[in-house]
């Protein structure tokens, strides 16, 4: 049987039209949520590969561009975290309206926290976390530090504000450009508030944490606090951060195996 063709489509999201690609179209379905900024671009291939794997296994995957990102309507500078959560919930509703059984929300990095929140809000039974961000505040610090380093690397000493100075600029209402993507003070505030542990504790369903490379030392403790949390570690490159396109086939296999478990159950 030929591999089904992925369907690009637009959803009428809460704040504007949302671009999404549907892989497959029958059976148990999942929603895939991207990471923020440049990580989103660098993980597109893996999302597409996951979609094809799921379609080939008789399921479906909806890969969503939240408002203000990718090919969806809106500017990145207009988006808030709550908008993205609402977009994800809307996308899950869309799947259900198509009589697809939305069984899981999958998210990468910041998208993993979003996946937990969306799964809870839409009463989806499972969340699958690809290399989740654990603390939003620390993630923001890292993003600002990398921006500072990039400015230094380009010999732009004048632009290489310290992380403290960058935070002050955000606090003063300035939009910062980070790796080609704008970050507003409002989004920075939203990101700083994110906490994986709390999001997981608020979710009653099953959580699968997929770590690429060694799982962080904090993983077992967080998982222990959650109602039904499990850890899988796979080998592979940090594809969301490498400059050249890389893939982690083991992550695809592990995810497909987890989700086809659902089919059998």
């Amino acid at each position: 049987m030929d591999e089904p063709t992925p369907q690009p489509l637009f959803l009428d999201g809460p704040r504007g039209r949302l671009f999404a690609v549907l892989y497959g179209g029958d059976g148990p379905a999942a929603l895939w949520l991207p990471p923020f900024g440049e990580e989103m671009n660098r993980s597109r291939r893996m999302a597409a590969l996951l979609g094809r794997r799921m379609a080939a296994a008789g399921g479906a995957l909806l890969v969503l561009d939240p408002f203000g990102t990718g090919d969806s309507e809106g500017e990145t500078t207009q988006a808030r975290w709550a908008d993205w959560r609402a977009d994800a919930v809307h996308a899950l509703g869309w799947l259900r309206a198509r009589r697809l059984d939305a069984r899981a929300v999958i998210g990468l990095r910041l998208g993993a926290v979003l996946a937990l929140e969306a799964a809870r809000a839409a009463a989806v039974p499972r969340a699958v976390l690809w290399q989740p961000v654990v603390r939003g505040r620390r993630y923001l610090q890292q993003v600002l530090r990398i921006r500072m380093a990039a400015a230094l690397a380009h010999g732009d000493r004048g632009g290489a504000d310290s992380v403290t100075a960058l935070r002050q600029r955000l606090a003063a209402g300035e939009i910062l450009e980070i790796g080609g993507h704008p970050m507003t003070p409002e989004m920075a505030t939203d990101i700083e508030a994110l906490d994986l542990g709390a999001a997981g504790s608020a979710f009653a369903g099953r959580i699968d944490w997929l770590a690429v490379g060694e799982a962080p030392v904090v993983a077992p403790r967080l998982l222990g606090d959650w109602r039904d949390g499990r850890l899988v570690t796979v080998d592979g490159p940090s594809f969301w951060s490498t400059e050249e396109t890389t893939t982690a086939p083991a992550l695809l296999s592990a995810t497909a195996a987890l989700l086809t478990e659902t089919v059998v159950a």
């Binding site: 610090q141 890292q142 992380v163 904090v218 940090s238």
Partner: protein, 96 residues
């Protein structure tokens, strides 16, 4: 932790192993990662070790070991070698 960091110490130490795996991934060293020892020099010696690499390695350390590294904690000496970086991580873990 002893003041002299030996290869034997490294081989037995889970922090070193975790740090080595992290450096291998972040710097995309591939097979070369297996050959990192405490003596391996980083800043100024390894071509991959530029300011972006420093930022990425620090992020990797924070996430893997669940630490927060303030910019004031860092100086060039920290990144002189794998051994100095290992000591930095171990010291931070002891404080945490």
């Amino acid at each position: 932790m002893s003041s002299t960091l030996t290869r034997a110490d490294a081989a037995a130490d889970p922090v070193f192993q975790r740090l080595r795996a992290l450096l291998t991934d972040v710097l995309q060293l591939g097979e070369r990662g297996a050959h990192l020892t405490p003596e391996t020099e980083l800043l100024g010696a390894l071509p991959e070790f530029d300011s972006m690499a420093v930022a990425s390695v620090v992020a990797g350390i924070e996430d893997s070991f669940d630490l927060i590294v303030e910019d004031d904690d860092l100086d060039a000496e920290t990144f002189r070698s794998v051994g100095t970086l290992w000591r930095f991580v171990a010291d931070r873990l002891a404080e945490a």
